[in-house]
């Protein structure tokens, strides 16, 4: 790899030295906090060309010698215009001030970008925390994943849940990254809240299609979440007190303009009140979750920066003095080093650690045991971006990840234990990839993005596996068991994953885009339930489990109106998925050493059309999206023929509106409608052992009632809202979830009638009635 790097580096040097051209590079930052802005645009007016900042806020633009008017813009910030004489390589940091949208006359200067028209990128949404924070939230807990569920092409996995499905892909087919580290289970409280503390998050980007070559490992989407770097100028903080949890974030310089830190914590506190209960079991319960985000970044020089960040979160439910316990959580740790080899060659080296685990301790006695399970990985990444010409950018790099899976370990805690200790063998795998991708402009109207990712997956010993006799598709039997020595590579898969995107700009407000991508997924999630449970069991591809593959094509028409005040788009997509993983009927997944024998494979297809109208800036902002889509599966060993996936909801509407009624008062509302999710429901019944047992004739053949709901939130700013000199700002947020009290069915069960045991009724479970909440937020 190093060899290749040097060769390419020399090649660029040769290209760069050709002609009288110089490079303007630097960062685009928030003037107040020094926080780098991701995806901010710079534009050279005379040449009608530009660039945008990468995830580290870095930009680089190579131009002929001359004098230019450069405009730096970012949504929600005032544009910064600078005259630059370019007669040598120049480093310049743009510092943008947040536009005070609340004051009407400044409105016009808020960025109205045509980025959505000019970028090749499609099927991608970038969200700013400012937008997310205004959206009405369940129990006042601002949640970026729930905002993502309001975007076209994204479905939720049930009421209040943070599981999401992108264009027909499963929950486990989303790559969720926090500062580049994989978050395996992004949920708290069994899925009701996500692990992302909004105060610590800078930027969120969701890729539904046209996924760039630098990402891989999941079939359907990438959710790239970036943490704040920390205020470079002064110690500042933010936080909030809500009915479910409280938050506090502190950030500031350790060495001004050089080293910053950020510490953000969040914890629920319902359990503090448990001892006041007069119910024994509540009194003796423990139940909470917490999140802790830490980050330090240090600027060594203009050319070198180091970032260290971590996330620690846990959910705990326990009884008595830890007699019975259930906990789960994620840990991530990322160290990154940005290095500029030249103003045109940006590089990043990352070391990443990530772990998800859960534990269960059963009630005391001779049968007491503790159950643990985890997935852990270590990754190294080395990525380069070469800004070769203003119209040609090349990205390339390599990734390697070492996975360790502990499917389960059962340890007795009693001296007179009757259960044997059980340890399902650890399994190990290495997932690596090299990629290269380029973006260039051909003529004035055409932009293309193309790339190739080569991914490689090795199962590596020490490990063991079973071979199965598959003559009976309902139940496989073990044919042989194999053992592999430490370090032995016993299975290899690889895939070429081409990525392609094209943008044809018809005029300054209209473009047509198309994309194709192939994705490979080598690790899979076993889950018996349709909702997000914490009992996640991740397992690797192996000789028994082929990697999942997906091909997606998408095309779209993008048009802006009123000088970019309104953005509209229509996208259509079609996706084929192979080697989809499912489970035989009544599969036993937990504690089963032969879990691979429970798997069944098949194919999937998903297609749809997504419509979006968006107003990104102004007093009145928001979007309306409508998605029509279908998601179908065909797993021959489970069901004969194609059947709808459990999250196949053909119609999906989201309306998200926010209005700045007065300078201090913002009103936001959203309305969501989707077709009911399909479920398998009984056609007939029979009796056995005094139980009524169902008979099914179709899979996912009957839909739950349609889902719809409206939420409202009102944010009232404290009196210092327009006095930037006063450090302390506060606001009150009143959110009302499900304002017209719709009892949306979460699931349907069939229960005996209370008065007549001969009669059975369909009974829906609904999670939330109308649910108001009040949160007090502050920052200083």
């Amino acid at each position: 790899m190093k060899h290749l790097t040097i060769t390419l580096f020399l090649l660029f040097t040769i290209i760069f030295s050709y002609g009288q051209k110089y490079t303007l590079s630097g960062h685009i930052k928030d003037s107040e906090t020094g926080e780098e802005l991701i995806g901010a645009a710079i534009f050279v007016e005379r040449l009608n060309t530009g660039a945008s900042t990468n995830v580290y806020g870095f930009y680089s633009l190579t131009l002929p010698k001359g004098e230019y008017t450069i405009r730096a813009t970012y949504l929600g910030y005032d544009a910064y215009i600078k005259q630059i004489k370019l007669h040598e390589n120049t480093n310049f940091d743009f510092r943008l001030s947040a536009s005070s949208e609340k004051i009407e006359e400044v409105l016009v200067t808020g960025e109205k970008s045509d980025k959505n028209i000019t970028d090749v990128e499609m099927s991608t949404t970038k969200l700013q925390m400012k937008v997310i924070e205004k959206i009405p939230a369940l129990l006042g807990e601002v949640d970026l994943i729930k905002t993502i569920q309001l975007l076209p092409g994204v479905q939720n996995s049930g009421e209040g849940s943070t599981g999401f499905y992108v264009r027909g892909g499963g929950v486990d087919q989303n790559l969720v990254l926090l500062d580049e580290a994989t978050v395996f289970n992004a949920s708290h409280l069994g899925g009701l809240f996500s692990v992302f503390n909004s105060d610590a998050i800078k930027d969120v980007k969701l890729y539904k299609g046209g996924i760039p070559a630098e990402f891989g490992g999941r079939l359907s989407s990438v959710l790239d979440v970036r943490m704040n770097d920390g205020n470079q100028k002064q110690l500042s903080g933010s936080g909030g007190i809500g009915i479910l949890s409280s938050r506090l974030t502190l950030e500031g310089p350790i060495i001004k303009d050089k080293t910053t830190f950020l510490v953000a914590g969040r914890r629920t506190y319902a359990d503090i009140f448990f001892p006041l209960s007069n119910n024994y079991s509540v009194q003796n319960s423990i139940a909470y979750f917490y999140d802790l985000n830490l980050k330090i970044n240090h600027t060594i020089s203009d050319k070198d920066r180091i970032f260290v960040s971590g996330y620690f979160g846990k959910d705990v439910v326990a009884f008595g003095s830890d007699d019975v316990r259930f906990d789960y959580g994620n840990r991530t740790f990322t160290t990154r080093w940005n290095h500029l080899f030249s103003p045109k060659l940006f590089s990043n080296f990352s070391f990443i650690y990530s772990k998800y685990d859960y534990g269960i301790k059963t009630p005391p006695g001779v049968t007491q045991f503790e159950w643990t399970s985890y997935i852990e990985n270590f990754s190294l990444k080395n990525h380069y971006t070469a800004y070769l010409l203003p119209d040609f950018t090349l990205k390339f790099g390599a990734d390697a990840t070492y996975h360790t899976f502990l499917p389960g370990k059962m340890e007795n805690t009693s001296d007179e234990a009757v259960f044997n200790n059980l340890e399902l063998p650890l399994s190990h795998a290495i997932e690596s990839a090299v990629f290269a991708g380029a973006e260039n402009k051909i003529g004035s109207r055409l932009k293309v993005q193309y790339g190739l990712r080569f991914s490689l997956f090795n199962n590596i010993g020490e490990g063991s596996m079973y071979e199965y006799n598959k003559t009976n598709p309902k139940e496989y039997t073990v044919a042989d068991s194999l053992h592999f020595d430490k370090g032995e590579i016993f299975n290899t898969y690889y895939a070429f994953e081409p990525r392609f995107g094209i943008n044809l700009t018809l005029n300054s407000s209209t473009s047509i885009k198309a994309s194709y991508n192939r994705m490979a997924q080598y690790i899979h999630l076993a889950s018996n339930t349709m909702s997000a449970t914490p009992l996640d069991l991740w397992f690797p591809s192996s000789p028994n489990v082929k990697p999942q593959m997906a091909d997606q094509i998408a095309a779209g028409l993008f048009k802006n109106f009123n000088d970019n005040a309104f953005e509209t788009s229509v996208e259509v997509y079609y996706k084929w998925m192979n080697n989809m993983v499912d489970f035989r009927d009544h599969a036993s997944l937990l504690g089963n050493p032969r879990v691979e024998g429970e798997l069944r494979f098949g194919e999937g297809k998903a297609y749809g059309a997504e419509f979006l109208v968006k107003k990104p800036v102004g007093k009145f902002t928001g979007w309306i999206s409508y998605t029509w889509s279908r998601t179908l599966r065909n797993i021959p060993d489970i069901y004969d023929g194609w059947y709808p996936a459990s999250y196949d909801k053909p119609h999906d509407v989201s309306v998200v509106l926010s209005y700045q009624l007065y300078p201090r008062l913002n009103v936001s509302a959203n309305w969501i409608y989707s077709s009911g999710a399909p479920r398998t429901m009984p056609a007939g019944r029979f009796e056995y052992g005094n139980l009524r047992l169902p008979l099914y004739t179709t899979r996912n053949g009957i839909r739950l009632p349609d889902y719809h709901r409206a939420d409202l939130s009102v944010t009232f700013e404290g009196k210092n809202y327009d006095k930037p000199k006063k450090r302390f700002h506060s606001s009150w947020n009143l959110s009302v979830y499900n304002i017209y009290d719709r009892h949306n069915a979460y699931s349907v069960s069939f229960v005996e009638d209370k008065n007549n045991p001969e009669i059975y009724n369909a009974e829906k479970l609904y999670l939330f009635s109308i649910l108001p909440s009040l949160t007090w937020n502050f920052n200083f």
Binding site: L189, G190, A270, Y280, S281, A287, V317, F319, V324, F326, I360, T362, P363, P364, G365, V366, T367, E416, V418, F419, N420, N528, M530, S531, T533, F583, D585, H586, T680, M681, P682, A683, G684, R685, F686, E687, Y688, G689, N690, L691, L693, P694, L695, Y696, T697, R699, I702, V748, S749, F750, E758, I759, E763, K764, L765, Y766, L767, F768, S769, L771
Partner: protein
């Protein structure tokens, strides 16, 4: 294994109960596919005890149909194995077919249940009785501290026995109170397989828990019955409990038909069991 699932289910329910203090249920109208199947349903059993053996045979109906399941009449029912065939007759015309004679099934002999319905269709099922190890003793304790969730007094019934070495034993436990089957619904009956207990001495293993009010009189006679069951019966019971009990509400998994060992589209199960038991006298509130 069903205990593990039970604990986990219990914990998840507690977890979500805390999370979802506002969750409620409501009766709704659901239009089911009412082209319901009219399948033959069989509940039959052969044991190693010298007794009358029975087969309860009826039909499945539409899910919401407000009636009892119709008995299957005029079928020809036999159990055969070890060169012997026993006829089972529906004397009361209620779909319950009882063997003409008392007989005891033999260990390790494959038995076939055969049912020919009045319209001439034949359905069969096969099963084999496996040996069951002896119980050393059954004891109980009246306590309010064994389960940590509350401080209610309950009767905890414990089993003591040697689990024989060698994987592949499946056990079923039933409880009789004053001579009558007390665990008369499928979900009250306990069952386990020996993967995690193979060859161990099982001491103070809690099989059943009775609430304080379930023992009404002093010196109540309880019988703990232990049966060996086949793997197919274990799988059948797991799948039945999934569909009828565990797979409800919040963590619903993909439903699927309950397994069976009957052929030709019939449902239900033909069970084969070797049985041992031990008697226990329970004192009121002590």
């Amino acid at each position: 294994m069903n205990r593990l699932i039970k604990y986990i289910t219990h914990i998840i329910i507690l977890l979500t109960a805390i999370a979802l203090f506002s969750a409620c249920t409501e009766i709704i109208d659901v239009e089911l596919d009412e082209n319901a199947t009219n399948l033959l349903v069989v509940d039959a059993k052969i044991t190693n005890r010298d007794t009358f053996h029975y087969a309860r045979i009826n039909r499945s109906i539409s899910y919401f149909e407000e009636q009892a399941v119709p008995p299957e009449l005029n079928a020809k029912v036999t159990i055969s194995g070890g060169n012997k065939t026993y006829n089972l007759l529906d004397v009361d015309n209620d779909g319950v077919y009882v063997s003409e004679l008392k007989f005891a099934g033999e260990i390790d002999v494959p038995y076939t249940l055969s049912i020919t319905t009045a319209d001439g269709k034949t359905f069969t099922a096969e099963n084999t009785i496996k040996a069951v190890p002896p119980i050393d003793s059954v004891t109980y304790e009246y306590s309010n501290i064994i389960l940590p969730f509350d401080r209610e007094y309950r009767y905890y019934i414990f089993l003591h026995m040697q689990e024989p070495e060698g994987l592949g034993n499946y056990y079923l436990w039933n409880l009789y109170k004053n001579g009558e089957l007390y665990t008369d619904t499928l979900d009250e009956q306990q069952f386990i397989f020996d993967e995690n207990i193979d060859g161990n001495y099982l001491s103070y293993v809690n099989i059943f828990v009775l609430d304080d009010n379930e023992i009404e009189a002093d010196n109540t006679e309880m019988i703990l019955e232990m049966a060996s069951i086949s793997k197919t019966e274990y799988d059948f019971r797991i799948s039945a409990l999934f569909e009828a009990v565990w797979n409800q509400g919040l963590f619903q998994g993909p439903p699927a038909n309950v397994t069976t060992n009957l052929s030709d589209g019939a449902v239900g199960f033909f069970s084969a069991q070797a049985i041992v038991s031990d008697t226990l006298v329970v004192r009121l509130k002590q």
